[in-house]
């Protein structure tokens, strides 16, 4: 079990801070499994889990001691749902990524396909999941100037994360390709296909 720092966040939430993303995945999975009384929402992020609670049912002291008493290990749960994302690797930034990474375009694709990813947290836009598990050789910065319009289904990378744009939006990530898989559907439950804890593999589209 690694350390959790509990930070105040108003009357209805607290922020649990841990050492790294692996610890976030582990703590988030444990919190989900524990279903603490009065906890209404968990929002994982890069190094924290926001724990929102109903002040009519519990308080920060009670939630805090329950969180501290949790038994958990860093790392994603291994039984998360698995989603295969078929990709056509024709992204506008493939050449830039290859040159930034100092490898060939083909090697970028090979390494991106070889990764086992897990949706660590959502943010930026509805259903936009930050995928952990990117090959370190593919760690490249965001584009200097973001695009005003990135199409839905764009498969992208930035810094240490992978992502698939669930809807059309502005964005500064490096585009590797596109998928026809729908990742956001407001009539589905849940509306996002890549909820935190989902395992993701990319496969080359026919």
């Amino acid at each position: 079990m690694s350390e959790v720092r509990l930070l105040p966040c108003g009357e209805r939430a607290m922020l649990a801070e841990v050492d790294d993303l692996a610890a976030v995945l582990g703590l988030h999975a444990a919190l989900e499994a524990a279903g603490l009384d009065g906890v209404v929402e968990l929002v994982p992020a890069a190094r924290t889990v926001l724990i929102a609670f109903d002040p009519a049912r519990t308080d920060a002291t009670a939630v805090g001691s329950e969180v501290r008493a949790l038994d958990w290990r860093p790392g994603a749960r291994e039984d998360g749902p698995l989603v295969e994302v078929p990709v056509r690797y024709d992204g506008e930034d493939l050449d830039d990524v290859a040159s930034l990474a100092g490898i060939s375009r083909e090697e970028v694709v090979r390494r991106h396909l070889a990764g086992s990813y897990v949706a660590a947290f959502c943010g930026f836009a509805p259903g936009f999941a930050y995928l952990d598990g990117l090959d370190p050789a593919l760690r490249v910065a965001r584009r200097d100037s973001p695009r005003t319009r990135v199409p839905a289904g764009s498969v992208a990378i930035a810094d240490r994360f992978g992502a698939v744009y669930p809807r059309e939006s502005p964005g500064g990530w490096q585009l590797l390709g596109r998928t026809s898989l729908s990742l956001w559907d407001v009539t589905a439950d849940p509306p996002a296909r890549l909820v935190p804890g989902t395992r993701v593999r990319f496969v080359e589209a026919e």
Partner: protein
């Protein structure tokens, strides 16, 4: 049915939003001033969370296709109905007849006025809510001239609230210098003691760049004691986030689900309506809650 003749500067449909979806990157949204939305709904005989119209700086003109009970709460406006321009009172259940036009003027104070209609506004819900999330682009589009809004049959609100029941509910749009109570934020320790003290010691001016996402404040810069990047982390309504320029942003209903700037303090939930009703130029004060 309600026909929108003119939406004014910004009118949207709002209810109590989409709680519980933040892990999917979906914020709560909903009425910026929930207290006034609830009040308008109670007056109209609706459940408190029924969908109503949130007017930003008034200016709405609508026509009703049937007799209906309405109620307006929040920022006080002159409201007239019908060809004889009958005056309707704020914070009161009123009747509007089929074919009558209802005109809302500009508020004499505050920013947001809520128009509740008995039965609720029955536009198609998205993810369980009829709210427009202006940041995420979820829910119905902002109202536009020519829109036709269905009226629902939201029931269970009981008879319209009135009189003594509502005592104390009218102080939302206080004049002067509103005081908002704060508690320490998760990154209060990113700021030196004297900077934290400055947050509570100085008045902050609401800027015109304020919207449903947040109230952007002008005042002495709150410089950080900690350098470096903060990885994005979950944000809550009422958070006072401090961007690199040191001018805090007070997050309202459409705030981003995660943010990468330190939160120095959190405004208590009961005082968020005061922030949502503070117009540009208003001076706000923060007081530490004991």
């Amino acid at each position: 049915m309600i026909e929108v003749l003119s939406p004014g500067p910004l009118s949207t449909v709002q209810d109590l939003g989409r709680p519980g979806l933040a892990a999917l990157g979906v914020g709560v949204s909903g009425a910026a001033d929930r207290r006034s939305l609830r009040l308008a709904n109670r007056l109209a005989g609706n459940p408190e969370g029924a969908a109503a119209i949130e007017l930003t700086l008034g200016g709405l003109r609508v026509r009703f296709a049937r007799d209906v009970r309405v109620a307006l709460a929040g920022a006080p406006c002159e409201v007239v109905a019908g060809v004889r321009r009958r005056l309707l009172a704020m914070d009161t259940a009123e009747r509007v007849a089929s074919g009558e036009e209802l005109r809302v003027g500009s508020p004499s104070a505050g920013v947001r006025t809520y128009l509740a209609v008995a039965g609720g506004i029955a536009v198609e819900p998205v993810l369980g809510s009829r709210s427009t999330d202006t940041l995420a682009g979820l829910g119905p589009a902002r109202l536009a001239r020519g829109d036709v809004l269905p009226i629902g049959s939201a029931a269970g609100g009981g008879p319209p609230a009135a009189g003594a029941e509502l005592a104390g509910a009218f102080d939302v749009v206080a004049g002067g210098e509103p005081s908002l109570r704060i508690t320490p934020g998760p990154r209060a320790d990113w700021f030196a003691d004297e900077v934290r003290a400055r947050l509570a010691a100085t008045p902050w001016t609401v800027t015109p760049r304020s919207d449903r996402v947040g109230v952007r404040l002008e005042g002495p810069a709150l410089e950080r004691a900690v350098e470096g990047e903060l990885p994005p982390e979950g944000m809550v309504e009422g958070a006072l986030q401090v961007p690199p320029d040191g001018r805090p942003v007070l997050f309202l209903a459409d705030h981003p689900v995660t943010g990468g700037y330190p939160v120095i303090a959190i405004v208590v939930a009961d005082d968020i309506p005061l922030a949502a009703q503070a117009r540009p130029g208003t001076r706000l004060r923060f007081v530490n809650r004991r």
